[in-house]
Subunit: 374 residues, 2 copies
Amino acid sequence: MNTEKNLKTLIVNKPLKLDCGKTINNFPIAYETYGELNLKKNNAILVFHALTGDQYVTGINPVTKKDGWWSYAVGPNKAIDTNKYFVICTNVIGGCMGSYGPSDKDPVSDNIFGTNFPVITINDMVNAQYNLLDHFNIDKLFSITGGSMGGMQVLQFISNFPDKAKTVIPIATTSSHSAQNIALNELGRQAITADSNWKDGNYASNNTIPGKGLAVARMAAHITYLSKKGLQEKFGRKLQEREDLKFGFDADFQIESYLRYQGSVFVDRFDANSYLYITRAMDYFDLAKQFDGDLSKAFKNTKAKFFIISFTSDWLYPTQENKEIVIALNSIGADVGFVEIESDKGHDSFLLDVPNFLNALKNFLDKSYVENEK
Amino acid sequence: MNTEKNLKTLIVNKPLKLDCGKTINNFPIAYETYGELNLKKNNAILVFHALTGDQYVTGINPVTKKDGWWSYAVGPNKAIDTNKYFVICTNVIGGCMGSYGPSDKDPVSDNIFGTNFPVITINDMVNAQYNLLDHFNIDKLFSITGGSMGGMQVLQFISNFPDKAKTVIPIATTSSHSAQNIALNELGRQAITADSNWKDGNYASNNTIPGKGLAVARMAAHITYLSKKGLQEKFGRKLQEREDLKFGFDADFQIESYLRYQGSVFVDRFDANSYLYITRAMDYFDLAKQFDGDLSKAFKNTKAKFFIISFTSDWLYPTQENKEIVIALNSIGADVGFVEIESDKGHDSFLLDVPNFLNALKNFLDKSYVENEK
């Protein structure tokens, strides 16, 4: 959470009208950058993070002291080569790593917002992030990319700002949250609000944390990030530091112990109300609906070059949903490439060391950059 | 829960040694029957229920006042024709509909067991149920069948009592709980034990119910019973009695409202500790492990005729896991049939009106019964 004093923060002093009807102003956006912006200012890549990500894409995250969430993909000589590109990433509004969110103080009441924070959307997120372009005086981004909810922001950004990116790389994502996606997010929200420490969102003023509920939400989500086959290969029915079953409710199986650990460490780094707000934004995302049900209209004004990437074992945002974006782009003759990467690592593949994915990403960027320079 | 006074109950007065090492005696098994046992006593079908089922297979469940859980399949002229067959179903031990379980009193302490109830297994369940054969003086069952955890009991029963059933019909099941299955059950258990009203399992003596946690567990499970496609077709992004999004955390979408409802009604009919015990029994189930890792050995002593049924959209116990049982049976030359039924209704297909499934079940039973009579 935003306990660090040395966060890079942009205070946006331009009113932003949110989809819910409310307007916010003078709000913080926390960001981080990697690499150097070149003189032509044509090497910037805006990376969008997923549900529980943050601005710390690579290197050591100063808050968690662990590797940044996209360390496999971003860094010197990596797929997104920070020797070559200037990478910007901002914490989404609604988040808990320094950008304006429910754990901030409501300037009107002087209390922590909690659930009085306005419900935000993917559209609101990218409209807020757009201010970074002005801040860095960048006219056009070389690329925008992100996986999962990051991919949703990619799609919304290029729809809102069709001439602000040369290349567009949505990864393992969807243009519209499905009923199953909404169900899984609702499950997480119910787990949080079921925690008696949640206190209608006012846990901060009660000096409590709905940690058990948030941990359950994280466990539920974590299961959806991995494939059945991947889980079986990694854990199967292996026992946790014991010779045989104990006939009790402790973690007999490694998978139980692993999930409990994932739940507990998440609570240390994430705010429960932010989890409610960000999942809500994902559930509300339906890009086609913004264009009378015709997804292709979302992209009709852009000349950007698209590259869409999906993974075979991703059951959260399966290949078919990624292909629907490709189909919409093809139907208007957009410049679009697509690859489905073979992987047993499920939805999490985009965060992991999946060489075919990382190579595809690198090749697309580097080839496009050569064309860009011509 | 076992509030009804007119439950049919068998008090087992023969000691049963459980897998955990403890022995139970003089314990109740609640059961229900449908149809008439014929004079030859060769028309009995033992039906095993799934995680949250009970002995009330068809007709109106006297406790919930709703249709029995297998009303589509069982009844006069239905797939399991009660004009022809005598159907027996018992509440599993560990359950909460009259059979011995954690909401019973511990005869030693005179307190409600809670988590002092012994951890039970699928093997313990079928060994307890076996007493019904003696009770009805049935030498050999015409058939044993059940879906999901019911199917696990089917497999364990024929392994334990190889000459006690003519035909064997495991449906939508597995011979071993996978890492993903364990993970999903652990999620449910964590949701229950996270509820501050759970009180280490002693909620009864505290006059509380961990209803919020149990509801979350049910929601999580419910999502796994339905397919992504089925959810999309039934709910999609339809809104719940509103024209547009409300920008809040109420149930905007029908799927949210549906899940909340499923969670809340479940709490009225099911005991939280039973949920812990029964999911634990499922997670412990690994039939091959009982036979040095060779599943076919589990069936080597039976001459029963097997018919295994799976569903295309079942991602909880997918066709592949059902096929592994078929392969094990084929490897020892057993009499085995198999059908994969096309259905978008997910794991729940076995409980629903899926005509191809119900016809397959009926035809197998009725043809086998004619042979049986010869």
